[in-house]
């Protein structure tokens, strides 16, 4: 089998592209995640800080009492301490009565909207080089018999909160970076997993023989089904084309053979009617040529059949003895006609093998044809099946003129022995036999017999 190796060509690497896309997508996701986490953390910590600030400003407001000579303020130490605890914030506060500063930082800005009821108002502003988050709450107090509006404003920097948000975002970024670091092998893995089926499909297709035209039956993911369908479509078209070619060959053979038959028959009739030796000789040559072309056609067809079946190797259990017997039977009339005695050996009992019965039949027929053709009248052909411990041998021994030259070269296609003279034959016979043997893991051995004649043996090692 010819294995086509997949070579990295100059094209775009799908795997690299997949990996990059995966990484890019992860990077975007990761960046988005880190940003979102940071934002959410910022919001959450801001909200919780606001709640603390709101509670603090309410506590301060609750500490304001109206006394005889004005206002008494009990600034709660604990509240301030707590406000400053997270990130050691700077704290600013102001108490205004009817808009006039009473205590604290007189220049601390007033809230953009006056607080109402008991609900603190939150806002942010810059004050003394710092970004402040402020809360204001308003109280009505009776001071010196007059209802006064007391507004308490409490502000804090948000270094701690910012630091927490920053830390959270940084943690998220680190986690994201770690994820990214993990993403590369994962991306490689994923790309491998995605491309695996394609690679396997390619292997399956590449592993096929050059003339294997069965549809590819391979489990592929749904996404690869169109590709598989295309491949199978292509194979089907190719097969159809080849089948058409084969049909054409067989059809052509058929078409040619009928007129050839006519030529031969008419020539024979003419031969029987002529008394002129020259004409008779011509007619004989015609008959002989027709015979040769017929034989060649047979062998070409046989050869095509063997090649076809080698690829579509439809092996099964078979009884080689029965096949040999059948071939011997089918060729018996020819042997009898030529007064050649055919003896057999080892055919009485079934001999089980694994292989393609029709290929064996073709091979054995060719061997028999050869043997009968090269054996003179009243000669002897011996067909034997000889199983040994290591191999199974099917031998066809003849009384023919033997072979000259290299037996191995005989097997080569269209080469005929050096001494076949005018015996018809295309020379394909032994090639066909050899190919059948090879398809079954065996070989053809052609050797001269010591007693004269040829031994052609098919040898199959026991699997």
């Amino acid at each position: 089998m010819i294995r086509t190796m997949m070579r990295p060509g100059g094209g775009v690497s799908l795997r690299r592209r997949l990996v990059w896309q995966f990484i890019l997508l992860s990077a975007v996701l990761v960046a988005g995640l880190a940003f979102t986490v940071g934002w959410v953390a910022d919001r959450a910590s801001r909200a919780s800080q606001d709640a603390v600030l709101g509670a603090a400003v309410t506590a301060v407001a609750d500490g304001i009492r109206s006394v005889d000579d004005g206002l008494e303020l009990e600034l709660p130490y604990g509240t301030f301490s707590m406000l400053g605890a997270m990130g050691e914030e700077r704290i600013f506060y102001a108490v205004r009565v009817d808009g006039d500063p009473a205590t604290g930082y007189d220049d601390l800005p007033m809230p953009p909207m006056p607080p109402e009821g008991l609900v603190p108002v939150f806002w942010s502003t810059d004050f003394r080089d710092a970004r402040l988050r402020l809360a204001s709450v308003s109280r009505s107090l009776l001071i010196e018999d007059r209802a006064r509006q007391v507004v308490v404003t409490l502000g804090q920097t948000r270094h701690g909160q910012a630091a927490i948000a920053r830390d959270t975002a940084r943690s998220a970024a680190w986690a994201a970076a770690a994820f990214m670091a993990l993403a590369l092998p994962v991306a490689l893995l994923a790309a491998g997993a995605v491309l695996g089926p394609i690679r396997r499909l390619a292997q399956v297709v590449a592993a096929r023989g050059p003339r294997d035209l069965r549809p590819v039956r391979h489990q592929t993911p749904r996404e690869l089904q169109p590709l598989l369908r295309s491949i199978n479509g292509l194979i089907a078209r190719l097969r159809a084309a080849l089948e058409m070619t084969e049909t054409f060959i067989f059809e052509a053979a058929h078409r040619i053979r009928t007129p050839l038959s006519l030529v031969r028959t008419e020539a024979e009739l003419a031969l029987s009617e002529t008394d002129d030796p020259a004409t008779a000789a011509r007619l004989r040559r015609i008959v002989r040529a027709v015979g040769e072309s017929s034989r060649s056609a047979n062998q070409i067809l046989d050869h095509a059949m063997v090649l076809y079946r080698s690829d579509q190797f439809a092996a099964g259990p078979l009884d080689i003895a029965a096949i040999v017997q059948e071939v011997v039977r089918a060729t018996a009339p020819i042997a009898e006609m030529r007064e050649i005695e055919v003896t057999t050996e080892g055919l009485a009992l079934p001999v089980q093998m694994h292989g393609d019965a029709r290929m064996f039949e073709i091979a054995l027929r060719n061997l028999m044809d050869n043997a009968l053709k090269y054996t003179p009248s009243e000669g002897h052909v011996h067909v034997a099946i000889r199983p040994s411990r290591t191999e199974l041998r099917i031998e066809v021994l003849d009384d023919g003129r033997g072979i000259e030259g290299d037996p191995a070269a005989l097997v080569a296609r269209f080469r005929r022995g050096g001494n076949v003279g005018d015996t018809g034959g295309s020379g394909l016979g032994l090639t066909i036999v050899s190919e059948v043997a090879a398809a079954h893991g065996g070989r053809l051995i052609v050797a001269p017999r010591e007693t004269g004649g040829t031994c052609a043996a098919l040898s199959f090692p026991w699997a």
């Binding site: 008494e72 130490y77 301490s81 914030e89 205590t103 003394r128």
Partner: protein, 355 residues
């Protein structure tokens, strides 16, 4: 070393900050003139700081320290209102220091001080550099055969039971003059319910009020007072060893410890110098000297461990509440009501000044 110190007095007046509007108590140079001066404004007595500053000058020949001593209130005024330019500001008035830092006068300093407790610093701006226990000193002669009180309750009882002996012979900070004094009153106010009874007793006994620990100790040693309440221990430590008459009362209900802190102002002309000096003050060697004089170590391992009743005041935003106008006014009015019972509230009491 000795030569350096002697030379200090000569240069002191020459290198003063231009046009001081705030009141300077003393000033001194450590190191010689060609060296670039590091301007320090502090409420710690020069004597208390001399050792570490001399050491600094010796270690850094290209530097000298120009040390200006002022009261904590004056420091507040100088920095906040007058924009005085100093490279390091040291004060034991924690609330004022805290307020200055909170209001943005302190610069951030990158400093790694191993062992410095978290509560002894605020952000990277305000650095605690000495723990100063605040103690009550008594004169043995003044107490006569009375047993020395071991708690504020016993102290109150002793004072009540012996009005003749203690009338006019009790000394304490004047919170209206001294920032530290006010701060200690507010801490006592917060720390103990019994404080106001003590204040009342002291008022009834015509306690004399002073600006500074040093003055109180002077009066005590001179025999003019028998008891000095709330004296910074480091001052006492400087006098007590050679005066067997001075006794530090072991009041075991609590002993306040204020944190003397330092910061480099944002407006410092030579912030590197300020940082350099600050780092020196926080170095284990300097801390050892400071802990020796204070009697307790700020950084564990540099001196005596704090006793069980010692209550250090933390540097945190809570300190801001003590400087509140309304709060201050109400606290002082309460103080006056307790101390000066025969005076109408709101009238400024006459403060007996140290001679």
């Amino acid at each position: 070393m000795r030569r350096i110190i002697i030379s200090l007095g000569l240069t002191a007046w020459l290198s003063a900050n231009p046009a001081h509007a705030f009141e300077i108590e003393a000033e001194q140079d450590f190191g010689l003139p060609p060296a670039a001066p590091i301007e320090v404004l502090s409420n710690a007595d020069i004597e208390a700081m001399a050792a570490v500053l001399t050491d600094f000058a010796a270690r850094h020949p290209t530097r000298r320290v120009h040390y200006v001593q002022a009261s904590s209130a004056e420091i507040q005024r100088a920095i906040r209102d007058e924009g005085a330019r100093f490279d390091l500001v040291i004060s034991s008035a924690m609330d004022l220091q805290m307020k200055l830092a909170n209001d943005g006068f302190a610069a951030s300093v990158e400093l790694d001080v191993p062992g410095l407790p978290d509560w002894a610093r605020w952000r990277d701006q305000l650095w605690g550099m000495a723990l100063e226990p605040v103690v009550t000193l008594a004169s043995r002669r003044g107490f006569g055969d009375l047993p020395l009180p071991r708690s504020r309750r016993e102290l109150i009882a002793t004072l009540r039971e012996n009005p003749d002996r203690f009338a006019g012979r009790i000394a304490s900070y004047d919170p209206e003059v001294s920032g530290v004094g006010y701060f200690l009153v507010s801490q006592d106010d917060q720390g103990s319910d019994g404080f106001w009874r003590l204040a009342e007793v002291m008022g009834r006994l015509d306690a004399r009020l002073f600006c500074c620990s040093g003055d109180m100790i002077e009066e005590l040693r001179a025999g003019r007072v028998a008891l000095a309440y709330n004296v910074v221990a480091s001052y006492a430590a400087r006098f007590r060893p050679d005066d067997p008459d001075l006794v530090q009362l072991e009041l075991d209900d609590y002993v306040l410890a204020i944190l003397r802190s330092a910061f480099v102002p944002v407006a410092a002309p030579d912030p590197e110098g300020g940082e350099l000096l600050l780092a020196h003050l926080l170095s284990p060697w300097s801390q050892g000297i400071i802990a020796d004089s204070a009697g307790v170590a700020l950084i564990p391992g540099t001196g005596p461990a704090p006793g069980p009743s010692l209550r250090p005041i933390r540097l945190d935003a809570g300190l801001l509440v003590y400087d509140d106008r309304l709060r201050r006014a109400s606290l002082l009015s309460e103080w006056r009501a307790a101390l000066i019972q025969d005076m109408p509230a709101g009238e400024t009491p006459t403060t007996p000044e140290a001679p």
